[in-house]
């Protein structure tokens, strides 16, 4: 284990030790090699981005961390515990939450209830006790509701508290999705293209919420993003994937200057 290394960012947020490390991960679906020998790490409290052109293996990488896919080779280490096969529910219990590229909310449920589902993991009362609103269950419900209200306040969702999620515009649905992930009080948040399909204003809002979560709640953020501008603005370090391989890793300015990255995004002369 490396010695604790703490340095301050411009904003004053302390980035700590490595919490997640991905070592030599390879993943293939039949003949398609989605990931080939990818290694990188994520430090506590940092905003870590995974970028790359279409089909580079970004979402696969996230799914591996989250335990949806099981890599054929390589290991994942989270908080000094080594896992070859992570499972989604175990990832959740350990404090990894995620959002989805194509929003997976309960469309008919209100925003409040959707975020409440994020608390599910932290509810202890049995189903019967909850249904009958027995003393402890009711107290628990109130405590959870308070936490959900704080998230609603945090993400400025007050006007939509009781609106069915399916009726909200796209940008807001993304925000609710983020709220649900935050509701489980995760240590690490995996965001799959949080700004995809948003207009400039929505992107700015989303950036602010991600940074606020990172800053005020101390959540470590791993995000996949298409939009280079956004990534460079908000991340501490960036991993670049291309055709399943890691081609660059470093702070935004280094990555921006990297010839391999430029080639991957803009193409090369043949």
């Amino acid at each position: 284990m490396t010695a604790p290394e703490v340095h301050l960012h411009g904003t004053g947020r302390a980035v700590g030790d490595v919490v997640l490390s991905v070592e030599g991960v390879s993943l293939s679906f039949g003949g398609v090699k989605a990931l080939q020998d990818v290694s990188f790490d994520v430090r506590e409290h940092e905003v870590r981005a995974i970028i790359g052109p279409n089909g580079a293996g970004k979402s696969s990488m996230l799914n591996v961390i989250n335990g949806v896919y099981h890599p054929q080779k390589g290991t994942i280490r989270f908080k000094d515990r080594k896992f070859t096969d992570m499972e989604p529910h175990r990832a959740a219990v350990m404090g990894i939450a995620r959002t989805f590229q194509n929003i997976a909310l309960f469309k008919g449920m209100s925003v409040l209830d959707n975020i409440m589902t994020g608390r599910n993991l932290r509810m202890h009362a049995g189903i019967l006790a909850q249904a009958l609103r027995i003393g402890p269950a009711e107290r628990e419900e109130i405590a959870h509701r308070e936490r959900v209200e704080q998230i609603i306040d945090f993400l400025e969702l007050q006007p939509y508290r009781k609106t069915p999620a399916g009726r909200l515009p796209y940008g807001l649905q993304k925000r609710v999705d983020l709220g649900r992930a935050l509701a489980s009080e995760p240590q690490m948040l995996l965001l799959d293209e949080p700004m995809a399909g948003m207009n400039l204003e929505e992107k700015q809002d989303m950036c602010r919420f991600i940074l606020d979560a990172n800053d005020q709640l101390g959540t470590t953020v791993v995000l996949i993003e298409h939009d280079m501008g956004v990534v460079m603005d908000i991340s501490d370090r960036v991993v670049v994937l291309d055709y399943g391989r890691k081609i660059a890793d470093g702070v935004p300015d280094e990555v921006r200057a990297n010839q391999a990255v430029v080639d991957a995004y803009l193409g090369t002369k043949h």
Partner: protein
Amino acid sequence: MSEDIGALDTFPKLLMHHARVRGDRPAIREKDLGIWQTWTWHELAEETRAITAALAAMGFKRGEHFALVGDNRPRLYATMAAVQCLGGIPVPLYQDAVAAEMVFPIHNASIAFAFAEDQEQVDKLLEILPQCPTLTRIIYDDPRGLRHYKQPQLLAYDRLLESGRQAHRKDPAFVESEIARGSGSDTAAMFFTSGTTGVAKGVVHTHSSLIGPSRTAAELDRLGEDDVILAYLPPAWIGQNIFSCAQALVTGYCICCPESSETVMTDMREIGPTYYFAPPRVLENLLTQVSIRMEDASRVKRWLYAYFMRVAERVGGAILDGKRVSLVDRMLYSVGDLLIYGPLRNVLGMSRIKVGYTAGEAIGPDLFKFYRSIGINLKQLYGSTETAVFVCVQPDGQVKPDTVGPAVPGVELKFTPERELLIRRPGLFKEYYKNAEATVQAVDSERWFHTGDAGYIDQDGHVKIIDRVKDVGKLADGTLFAPKYLENKLKFFPHVREAVCFGHGRDKVCAFINIDPDAVGNWAEKRNLSYSGYTDLASRDEVYELIRECVERVNADLAQEPELANSQIHRFLILHKELDADDGELTRTRKVRRGFIGEKYGSLVEALYGGRDSVHVEAQVRYEDGRTGTFSADLRIRDAKTFPAAAAKRAA
């Protein structure tokens, strides 16, 4: 303990009076984390005392100005009261103003202290620090996002409160003695006018000029401590200040602060205010939303709504005024009340309204009648920042849609030959701050205030306002042209959000239209009309057709009024963008600035009168982040059918 409230001549004295007399009753409610939290008069007074002590310790002096920027929040009002306790002058600023607009007031009044609601407002104040060297202290309420701000000017409200509590414990007599030093002739607050006419002016009001009119109006409407109001308009606007500060302090009623500006409708339902104020624009938006939702309702409900609204239109107003109505109609109305009006009032959050007011601009008669017909006692009043709002008020039972009622007791009125309304009253403002020239122009040697509004008194003694004196024009043939009147008629259609009419010195009237994106969007959705955004929607043939029908119905209406029949709208176009206060096209209170728009879109006006069918437009747009870009498009122009004047027809 009995105390003569009438003898208390300043707001801080009134506040302490309520803390003594009704300490446990609610003074302010605020929705926090989804639950309404109550501040009693006692708590509000305690908080105010602490802030007063803290501000004094920081060196805030009697007679100094204090800027407040933010939405309606208990802490903003507590700070305002604390400033007044120390004999200071609160200067509330519009919270949606851009940073540059705040420079003038802060610079003009050499303001050193400011209260900012949140990061957004703090950022704006920090941005203008270089232009405002006097500003040395910024107190912020919500610390969110400000954790890493290291500017020495910043101070958290929580810390101010803490230090104030300690200071107050050490010397409890100090605050009371400061309050006792105040008198009714001291300046109580300064409001910057929204600037319909050029540069903003600081309107200086004393305690007595605000308390007097507030008290008269409260007595007129028999307001008391049981009343409740929702404070949702900008605190920088004098009306909001009168309703949520002055009158609350005069009567001891409770004000409620909504959770956010977007939740007003829900909050209103939850609170059920008994006393209500809304500018016509808000009432219009509410009605638009009701209409949209009715269109989505099932056939049976639509039929019921249409049927009973016709009943209400016929007899609702008369029932509210206590006039005689036939038994059958009365019974029909009761059924309607059970099925439609009652539930509708409930949805609007207006079930408990005792008195509702509207003012700010002329209200479309149909819009006004709608609210009255469903049993809401909506009345009009007339006033301005300079005259402390209550100049004319419609008394219960004498409400007419096209007048603003007779003068309230203590107000004298007269008209100039140009039909300009002049006002004299004890509650008149003291002066324009550091602008003696403007003061002399507005208030003549006999203390008559020149309102700039044109109107007359009708046979019942009610004042009728037509338009601004400078806006009332004449067509080339000499007939009367009152643009506002036409625009209001257009705006009553839910599909029309804003209209701007031109015609002064011209041979005919032409108009710019802004469609309402919600209403027209919903309409388009129902017809499977896909569109990418406002500009695209506004340029659709189908939408032009829809708006043409609206314009023609206005024309048909105008044809019934002999004086105005000539000002029917001959041609119109739908603007490519929404008129916006950020682009200077609307004032902060969202009145259209016709002159400015006419100049800015001069080429469009010429195209309307030049008989062309389309016009190319290239415009600068300013985005919310302050950047600018250009936009170009072809706008179409359509003719609307006009109708022969009714009087002429009858004569023929």
